[in-house]
C-alpha cells in the first residue's frame, strides 16, 4: 500500500528523467543501422585525423590546465603573499569568457595580421621565426588551457586549503620542508580532487566546438557539424556522435567516481589556520606568477574585447543586434524558467522520497551536461523526428481532424535541447540549497500534519527562493553562451549573439565579433560572481 501512495511523484520524477534521456537513447539506437560504406569512407579519410587531433588537444589542454591550476591552487591555498586574497577569487574569472571568445581574441591579437606579429615583422624583417601560423595544436591547447584551468584551480585550492593544512604541519614536525611536503603528502592527497578538476577540463575540451572551429582545427565536434550541414547525413552524424558520447560518458563516470572517493580522503577535521606568509623573492615570484596568469586569462582578453568594442560599437551595434539580444534573452530566460521549475520538482520529490530509484532519476537528469552540444543537437533532432512520426501515425489511426504541429524545425526542439544540456545547473543549485534546510524542519512540519505538496509549498519553496534565483540566473547565462546547439537547432529567425559571433569569426572579423561577445562576457562575469558567493568559505585570515 505504501508503494502506491508514492506512485504519482515517482511517475513525475521518472518522466522528467526519461525525456531527458531520450536524445541519448536516440544516439545509441542509431547503432542499429550502421552504414558500412559511410564508416569505410570515414575510416579511410577523416577518422584517424580526428582521433589524433582530439587526443593531442585533450592531452595538451588537460596537462597545461592541470599544471597551472594545481600550482595556483597550492599557492593561494597554503600561503599568503601580496595580492593573494584578490587572486583567491579572481583566478576563477577566466570562466566568465566562453572558450570561443578566448579563441578569437587570442587569434586577433597574435595572428599574422594581428598587432604582435606585424610589429615583430617590422622589427625583424629577416627573421625566419615570423610569421607563425598559430592555428596549431600547441597554441590551441594554450588558449583552451587558459580558459579552462579554473576548474582545476577551484578543486586544487579547496583540497589544499582545507585538507592539506593539518598534514602539512604534521610533515613539518617530522622534518619535511614545504617542497617535500608538497610532493610526498599534499599532492598525493589532493589527487582525487585534481583528477576530478582535470576531468572537467577534458570534458569541456572534448565538447568544445566554437574555439576549435575558429582555429580551423578538425575534431569530432566540427566533423559532426560538417556532416550535419555539409552532407545532411543524420546517420553518419549520429554515429560520429555516439562515438564521442562513449568517450564523454567514460569521462563523466570517472569524474563521479573520483568525486565520491575524494570525500573519504579528508584528513581529520578541516582546521582553519592562518596560512603561511611568503616573504622576499618568494613572495615576489608568487605574486608575479599569479598576476601573469590572471592577466593572460582575464585582463588581456577583456581589455582587448573592450578596446575593439569601443572602436566598433557605433558602426556595428545596429537595430538587428537588438533582435539578436532579444532572441538570446528570450531563449535564455524561457529555458531557465523551465529548467528551474523541473529541477525544483525533482529536488522536492527527492527530499521527501529518498529512494534509490529517485536518486537515479535525478542523476540521469544531470547527464546532459556531459554531452557536447553538437552531439546533443543530433540526438534531440532524431528524438523530435520520432515524436513527429508517432503523432502522424496516431492522427491517421484515429482519424483526428486536428493536426498537431510538427516538432522538427520548431523552437520547442531548441529549448528542449537547452533543457537537456543545462538541467544540471538547476538541479545542482537547488539540491545544495535543499541540503542547507535542516531535516528537523521537515520533522517539525510533519508533527503539524504537513507533507507532500503542502510541505514543499509552505516550507521548502520559500526557503529555496534565493537558490531558485541563483539557478535561474546561472541557467540563463549558460543558455545564452551555448553555440553549437543553437547553430544546429535554431529555426529561421532565431539567431542569437553566439550565432552572430560564429558567423563573424568564420569570416575572420574578430574586431566586429567583439560587440556581441562583450554582452556575453558581461553576463558571464555576473555568473562567476554568483558562483563565487556560493563557494564554501574555508579561509580564515
Amino acid at each position: 500500500m505504501r508503494q502506491s501512495r508514492h506512485f504519482p511523484p515517482r511517475i513525475v520524477a521518472w518522466s522528467a528523467a526519461g525525456s531527458i534521456g531520450i536524445p541519448l537513447v536516440a544516439l545509441v539506437a542509431f547503432w542499429g543501422h550502421v552504414d558500412a560504406t559511410i564508416w569505410g569512407h570515414l575510416w579511410a579519410t577523416t577518422l584517424p585525423v580526428l582521433v589524433k587531433n582530439s587526443v593531442v588537444l585533450v592531452v595538451g589542454t588537460g596537462s597545461f590546465a592541470l599544471a597551472v591550476g594545481t600550482s595556483l591552487g597550492w599557492l593561494t591555498g597554503v600561503y599568503t603573499f601580496p595580492g593573494s586574497r584578490l587572486f583567491r577569487w579572481a583566478l576563477i574569472m577566466p570562466l566568465a569568457l566562453p572558450t570561443y571568445v578566448f579563441a578569437f581574441i587570442y587569434l586577433g591579437i597574435f595572428d599574422f595580421t594581428g598587432p604582435v606579429q606585424t610589429t615583430l615583422m617590422r622589427w625583424f624583417p629577416e627573421s625566419s621565426l615570423v610569421p607563425v601560423d598559430l592555428r596549431q595544436a600547441p597554441f590551441i591547447c594554450f588558449v583552451l588551457g587558459l580558459a579552462l584551468f579554473p576548474y582545476v584551480y577551484l578543486m586544487a585550492h579547496n583540497a589544499f586549503s582545507s585538507q592539506g593544512r593539518g598534514v602539512l604541519e604534521a610533515a613539518a614536525s617530522l622534518g619535511h620542508g614545504a617542497g617535500s611536503a608538497f610532493w610526498r603528502v599534499a599532492l598525493p592527497l589532493a589527487r582525487p580532487w585534481l583528477a576530478a578538476g582535470t576531468m572537467l577540463v577534458v570534458m569541456e575540451t572534448v565538447a568544445d566546438f566554437g574555439a576549435v572551429s575558429i582555429f580551423n582545427y578538425a575534431t569530432f565536434t566540427t566533423a559532426i557539424y560538417k556532416t550535419w550541414f555539409g552532407f545532411f547525413s543524420v546517420k553518419s552524424a549520429a554515429q560520429l556522435s555516439s562515438l564521442l558520447v562513449a568517450v564523454v560518458l567514460c569521462c563523466a563516470l570517472v569524474e563521479q567516481f573520483l568525486r565520491r572517493r575524494s570525500r573519504y580522503a579528508a584528513v581529520g577535521s578541516a582546521r582553519c589556520l592562518s596560512p603561511h606568509r611568503l616573504q622576499g623573492w618568494k613572495a615576489l615570484l608568487a605574486t608575479g606568477y599569479a598576476l601573469s596568469i590572471l592577466v593572460l586569462g582575464f585582463f588581456l582578453p577583456v581589455g582587448q574585447l573592450l578596446y575593439w568594442t569601443l572602436r566598433h560599437w557605433s558602426t556595428q551595434w545596429s537595430a538587428e543586434y537588438w533582435g539578436y539580444l532579444g532572441n538570446t534573452a528570450t531563449l535564455g530566460a524561457g529555458a531557465a524558467v523551465l529548467i528551474t521549475g523541473i529541477a525544483l520538482v525533482l529536488v522536492c520529490i527527492q527530499r521527501q522520497l529518498p529512494a534509490k530509484d529517485i536518486t537515479t532519476a535525478v542523476w540521469i537528469s544531470r547527464l546532459g551536461y556531459a554531452i557536447p552540444g553538437t552531439v546533443l543537437a543530433v540526438g534531440v533532432s532524431i528524438a523530435a523526428g520520432w515524436a513527429d512520426s508517432i503523432t502522424a501515425a496516431m492522427s491517421t489511426l484515429n482519424r483526428w481532424n486536428v493536426s498537431l504541429p510538427t516538432l522538427q524545425g520548431g523552437v520547442a526542439v531548441l529549448v528542449f535541447g537547452y533543457l537537456v544540456r543545462f538541467m544540471v545547473t538547476g538541479v545542482n543549485t537547488l539540491e545544495s540549497g535543499m541540503q542547507r534546510i535542516p531535516a528537523s524542519l521537515d520533522q517539525a512540519a510533519a508533527l503539524h500534519g504537513s507533507k507532500g505538496a503542502h510541505l514543499a509549498g509552505r516550507i521548502h519553496l520559500p526557503l529555496l527562493r534565493s537558490s531558485m534565483g541563483t539557478g535561474l540566473i546561472l541557467a540563463t547565462i549558460e543558455v545564452m553562451k551555448e553555440m553549437p546547439l543553437t547553430l544546429m537547432l535554431r529555426p529561421f529567425g532565431w539567431d542569437t549573439l553566439a550565432v552572430k559571433i560564429y558567423e563573424l569569426t568564420s569570416e575572420g572579423l574578430w574586431e566586429k565579433a567583439a560587440v556581441p561577445a562583450v554582452v556575453l562576457v558581461a553576463a558571464g562575469c555576473l555568473a562567476v560572481t554568483i558562483l563565487c558567493r556560493t563557494l564554501p568559505k574555508n579561509d580564515v585570515e
Partner: protein, 353 residues
C-alpha cells in the same frame, strides 16, 4: 639550565594580542601542561614552540639553542620536535609503517625499519604495521600518532589536546599510558588541554593560562590547593569565597569561625576574602557555624550541597558523602578545616568572579 624556555613571548593576530608576556621553563624529562579556557592562547603557545607561528617579541629556546626571536626563526622542519595533533593528522595515503618512517628519511633502510619496529613495540602495535589509519580504532590511531612523533627522537614532544577525541574510559587509560611511556623515555613533553583531569593526571607542572599569559606555573597539587589568583581557584575545580578578617596575623575570622590559614601571608589592614574548596568544610553537629541547605546535587561518589550561612547569609558549597540523607531547608552544623583556606584581597577576588 632548563630544557625549554619561553621568555617574554608576545604574539598578536591582526592587532589583537593573543599572547602577552608568556614565560615558561620546563626541565629535561618533565611533562608540562598548559591548561586554560578556549581562546586563552595555550594552543598558540604550543604552535610557537612547534614553529608553526612566529613570535612578535621574546625568545624561545630548546635544548640550549635559540629557536625563535622577533627577528629570527628556525623553520618547523629543522627544530627536532615531535608532535601529536588533536586529530592525529595521520597520512591517509600511507600505511602505518610509512607514516612512522616519514620522519626517518635520514636513516638508511635497515636502521629505519629497526626504529619503526622499536616505536611500534613501545606502543604495542607491531601487528598493525601494514594497516591504514582508517582501519584503526581511535585509541590505536592515537598510539600510532605518538609512535610517529617519537620515532625521530625529538628534543621535545608536543601534544595538542591529546585525549579530547577519545571516549571517557579510554581517556584515563591512555593518559596514564602516555605518561608512563614518556617518563620511561625521559622525553620532555609539553601538552595543551582544557580538561583539568587530563592536566592533573599527566603533568609534572601545570601552567594555568588566562587571556594570553600564564597565571601560575606549578605542580598540580599547588595549582589546586594553593591557586595563585582567585581566578585560578574558580577555573580549576570549584571554590568558595567568603569575607574574612585577619587576627594577630595568624588566624582568619569568617562566618564559619576562626581558623588557621593554609599559608601565612603578611596581609596589611585591608578587607579580605577567604578561599576554600567545597571539600574543606565538613558537616559537624557541634560545628562553630551553621547553615541552611538550599539544594543538594547528587554526583555518584559524593553530593554537593548549596548552603546559606546563618551568620552572614553568604552562600557556600560543600561536598559530602552521597550516603548522607540531607533535605533542603534543613539546618546543619558546619566546620571549616584548619590549614585549608587561603586569603586574597577582596578587590582582587571580586574582579575575577
Amino acid at each position: 639550565m632548563s630544557h625549554l624556555t619561553l621568555e617574554n613571548i608576545h604574539k598578536s593576530f591582526g592587532g589583537a594580542a593573543v599572547l602577552a608576556d608568556v614565560n615558561l621553563e620546563l626541565d629535561h624529562g618533565d611533562i608540562g601542561c598548559l591548561l586554560g579556557p578556549s581562546g586563552c592562547g595555550k594552543t598558540t603557545t604550543l604552535r610557537l614552540v612547534a614553529g608553526f607561528e612566529t613570535p612578535d617579541g621574546g625568545r624561545l629556546q630548546l635544548a640550549g639553542k635559540t629557536l625563535a626571536t622577533s627577528s629570527f626563526t628556525v623553520p618547523a622542519a629543522q627544530r627536532g620536535i615531535g608532535m601529536v595533533f588533536q586529530d592525529y593528522a595521520l597520512f591517509p595515503h600511507m600505511c602505518i609503517r610509512d607514516n612512522i618512517g616519514f620522519g626517518l628519511r635520514h636513516l638508511r633502510i635497515p636502521e629505519r625499519n629497526r626504529r619503526i619496529h622499536e616505536v611500534l613495540d613501545l606502543v604495542g602495535l607491531r601487528h598493525v604495521e601494514r594497516s591504514y589509519a582508517h582501519e584503526l580504532s581511535g585509541g590505536q590511531q592515537q598510539r600510532v600518532a605518538l609512535a610517529r612523533a617519537l620515532a625521530p627522537k625529538p628534543h621535545i614532544l608536543l601534544l595538542d589536546e591529546p585525549l579530547s577525541s577519545l571516549d571517557e574510559q579510554l581517556r584515563a587509560e591512555l593518559g596514564a599510558e602516555i605518561r608512563a611511556l614518556v617518563k620511561h623515555l625521559k622525553m620532555t613533553t609539553l601538552l595543551v588541554t582544557h580538561s583539568q583531569e587530563e592536566a592533573f593526571s599527566m603533568a609534572d607542572r601545570v601552567g594555568v593560562m588566562n587571556q594570553g599569559h600564564i597565571e601560575q606555573w606549578a605542580s598540580p597539587h599547588t595549582v589546586y590547593h594553593h591557586p595563585a589568583t582567585p581566578w585560578i581557584g574558580t577555573f580549576v575545580g570549584e571554590g568558595n569565597f567568603i569575607s574574612a578578617e585577619m587576627q594577630n596575623g595568624e588566624t582568619i575570622c569568617t562566618a564559619l569561625g576562626a581558623v588557621e590559614p593554609a599559608i601565612h601571608t603578611d596581609c596589611p589592614e585591608q578587607p579580605l576574602v577567604a578561599f576554600f574548596r567545597p571539600e574543606d568544610i565538613t558537616l559537624h553537629p557541634q560545628g562553630e557555624a551553621s547553615g541552611v541547605v538550599l539544594s543538594s546535587r547528587f554526583a555518584g561518589p559524593f553530593q554537593m550541597l548549596k548552603l546559606r550561612l546563618c551568620a552572614s547569609a553568604e552562600e557556600v558549597s560543600c561536598r559530602i558523602s552521597s550516603h548522607e540523607a540531607i533535605q533542603p531547608g534543613q539546618e546543619v552544623g558546619l566546620r571549616l578545616l584548619p590549614k585549608r583556606a587561603l586569603t586574597f584581597p577582596s578587590g582582587e577576588a571580586r574582579s575575577s568572579a
